[in-house]
């Protein structure tokens, strides 16, 4: 990620979502089992999920940047990394299943493994959404005052920031077992939805004024919707985190 292309206002400089110098975290599930194999497996699985999260976050940010800057090369990069996202998902899916079969986890371990599997699924879907946005970025051309992408660019940008922040927060909450952070993500979703509604209204007013860019407008709507959905996926991940931690906190 080149420094001058960071989305303004984001905390993109902090790319270290995968802060796994673990051990200091409350109730670290990757520690303390009599069987070191279990400790290692859980830690490794979690690291995989966090790495996948990092990749997917970057996909989202890059896809939106490609759209806003009409950067088809960046869009291609995003599309070519999509198989990697799927590969992560497959691997996590397979290995969580194996872990359950071989180690028969219960209680917090079981919740964690389940949360891992579902998080992988959500992240994979986020990857799909970014792919769609990147495809749109490839197709989109033209500029001008009535280009819907230009018209809602601030909304796109802001929604991208929001959803990326939510994603990052959710993944970090997962990695660190931080329920407070997870709750913050849940709260953010409302903001994202409001932003989406405003962007839609803006688009509708443009369309009523100038009907040349119907296709682009529709695509833009989908892009906005995609970002909104990404926020929903982040919210789901945050909910998984709360479920995973549920047994340890008295007031969830």
């Amino acid at each position: 990620m080149q420094a001058d292309e960071q989305l303004p206002g984001t905390v993109a400089s902090d790319t270290s979502v995968g802060d796994t110098d673990g051990g200091h975290v409350h109730g670290d599930p990757g520690e303390g089992h009599t069987s070191k194999t279990v400790d290692q497996s859980l830690t490794a699985l979690r690291m995989l999920a966090v790495q996948m999260g990092g990749l997917v976050i970057d996909q989202v940010a890059s896809a939106v940047r490609a759209l806003l800057a009409r950067d088809t090369r960046l869009a291609e990069t995003v599309l070519s990394r999509e198989p990697m996202v799927n590969a992560y998902d497959n691997r996590l899916d397979r290995e969580t299943l194996e872990f359950i079969a071989l180690q028969q986890p219960v209680a917090s371990d079981l919740r964690m493994v389940r949360a891992l599997a579902r998080t992988a699924l959500e992240l994979e879907r986020v990857g799909d959404e970014s792919k769609k946005i990147a495809r749109f970025a490839q197709r989109a051309s033209g500029s001008g005052a009535h280009d819907p992408v230009v018209a809602v660019a601030p909304y796109l940008r802001h929604m991208a920031e929001l959803s990326v922040t939510m994603l990052r927060g959710a993944v970090r909450a997962f990695d660190e077992g931080d329920a407070q952070r997870a709750r913050e993500v849940l709260a953010r979703d409302r903001e994202l939805d409001a932003e989406f509604a405003t962007a839609l209204r803006q688009l509708m007013s443009i369309v009523m004024q100038d009907q040349h860019f119907i296709q682009a407008t529709i695509d833009t709507v989908f892009a906005l919707k995609g970002l909104e959905r990404i926020g929903d996926h982040a919210k789901n991940i945050a909910e998984q985190v709360l479920y995973m931690l549920g047994g340890e906190r008295s007031a969830a």
């Binding site: 990620m1 009599t34 699985l45 790495q51 070519s80 071989l102």
Partner: protein, 280 residues
């Protein structure tokens, strides 16, 4: 985060996950191989044509319902059946690398037992001191020098993860230890003579869950020093602890494979039925 900066065609970064490591990435050479092994108690045939490879430095588990012959098969490896009257072996268990047939008529059972160790179901330390328990096998082999003995006893106790608990109690009676400690002492006793294969006959069925967990962890670690064959009627233990699992039924070997495969997607229906609890 470095992951996303790599070239687009790179796969997911190679994070070593033990779940994956436990599958034999490259085929391990077998330490022993049973070939067409048959066994009779009197006129009753307890093992029927067993063909099984035991890979070196791996844990192989034998599972199956009561009476399937898993303990019988295990005890062929160290000729314990020779202590009973009217038993008969047929076929072979070839031990690598010298290609000796462990159940061959011309092979001395005492010699076999000096190369193959065993840990039994109920902890059975001798009513001697902790030190003497571990040293007994060494004395049988003619080790007399006190320093040698002390060194090797300490090594064995460390390998069995019990040194810290007994280092100040070496002259105390072994019977004063708890059940889990006694079993680890028995493991140390078997390890002292550096066996090539270590046999475990349901080693934790008489122990509480904490002691069981410690011993399972120990078995996992011992794998790098010695080949392990374990009989267990607890399938979940086989899943947790072993690299390869063999399912036996009515004296025959039904299926053998990597543990992760057997417990997620076994090949034979009989195996699947047993594992999922459909005993019919």
């Amino acid at each position: 985060m470095q992951g996303e900066q790599t070239s687009p065609s790179a796969g997911p970064p190679s994070v070593s996950i033990t779940v994956e490591d436990r599958k034999a990435v490259r085929a391990n050479a077998p330490k022993a191989r049973a070939e067409a092994l048959n066994f009779w108690y009197g006129s009753n045939q307890a093992l029927k044509g067993i063909n099984l490879s035991i890979p070196e430095h791996q844990v192989t588990a034998l599972i199956g319902p009561s009476g399937c012959g898993k303990s019988t098969f295990l005890r062929c490896f160290n000729r314990m059946h020779d202590l009973q009257p009217d038993t008969r072996y047929q076929g072979s268990i070839m031990l690598r690398p010298d290609d000796i047939n462990l159940v061959g008529a011309g092979v001395d059972p005492i010699e076999v037992r000096m190369r193959i160790g065993m840990v039994f179901q109920k902890p059975n330390p001798f009513p001697k001191t902790v030190f003497e328990n571990v040293a007994y096998g060494l004395r049988l082999r003619g080790v007399r020098n006190r320093t040698d003995l002390a060194e090797r006893v300490e090594g064995a106790l460390r390998a069995a993860a019990i040194w810290d608990e007994v280092k100040d109690r070496l002259s105390d009676s072994a019977l004063a230890l708890s059940g889990g400690q006694m079993q680890r002492l028995c493991i140390a006793r078997a390890l002292a003579t550096q066996p090539e294969i270590l046999l475990f006959d349901e080693p934790t069925s008489a122990l509480d869950p904490i002691a069981t967990a410690k011993i399972e962890e120990l078995i996992s670690e011992l794998r790098q020093h010695v080949t392990i064959l374990i009989v267990t009627h607890n399938m979940q233990q086989a899943a947790r602890v072993s690299d390869f699992t063999a399912f036996m039924y009515l004296g025959e070997l039904v299926e053998v494979g990597a543990t992760s495969m057997i417990f997620t997607n076994p090949g034979k229906k009989a195996t699947e039925d047993y594992i999922t609890g459909r005993y019919g």
